[in-house]
Symmetry: C2
Subunit: 126 residues, 2 copies
């Protein structure tokens, strides 16, 4: 048996991958800033206060560098300037590819969890 690589990534549930997907999803309807995106995480069941802002802003810059998003500064309106992100065609394609992998990995996790749960219930009934 040889050494190969795996990681959370293989299950599609690496933190940064999930946030990539969520941000792309949230941006499909509107262009939004990093701050607003963080707040809207609650819409998908993620507590925004758990996400360090350092991660959010760095991920968004990475996503832009990878061509999934484009940004422009918005200085109008109240408060400090916002960097507002818009999804690209490449970003949509990325999300479509992600969902395929994510579903497969969700299945793996689902099977694993029901297997373990079943075994633990057997133990209780002994």
């Amino acid at each position: 048996m040889r050494n190969k690589k795996i990681g959370c990534a293989k299950f599609g549930f690496k933190m940064s991958n999930i946030l990539y997907a969520v941000f792309l999803y949230l941006l499909m309807d509107n262009s939004l800033s990093g701050y607003t995106l963080t707040e809207e995480l609650s819409k998908v069941g993620i507590d925004p206060s758990y996400i360090p802002t350092g991660i959010t802003y760095r991920l968004l810059r990475d996503m832009e560098a990878n061509g999934l998003l484009v940004s422009k500064w918005e200085t109008s309106g109240t408060g400090p300037a916002k960097r507002v992100y818009r999804i690209t065609e490449s970003g949509k394609k990325y999300l479509e590819a992600w969902i395929v992998k994510a579903k497969r990995n969700l299945n793996t996790m689902q099977n694993l969890i029901s297997l373990i749960e079943g075994r633990l219930k057997d133990e209780q009934n002994k």
Copy 2:
């Protein structure tokens, strides 16, 4: 909004956490060596060849250090000596606690994925 922590761990799907659970599950019926445990990953839908042996053996030592497993050397039988692991009561408790968190996190992922999938389907039908 303040900075807090998250990570794969918050979703319960960190690589090492999954392997902890799988190993504990596999050890509920028999005592097994690291090598055999790796092979038996296929029973739960994980391709053993994807798991670097470096990770497996290190995780098992960690688990023992944390009291979830105990090991003894088995020199009888063919081939080189095996370090055979057995699950402890503490290991069983860990697995029970893990499954609760894992189910919750699976739910979060499930909702997230169906949300995104639904949105992508809308897009196709436009």
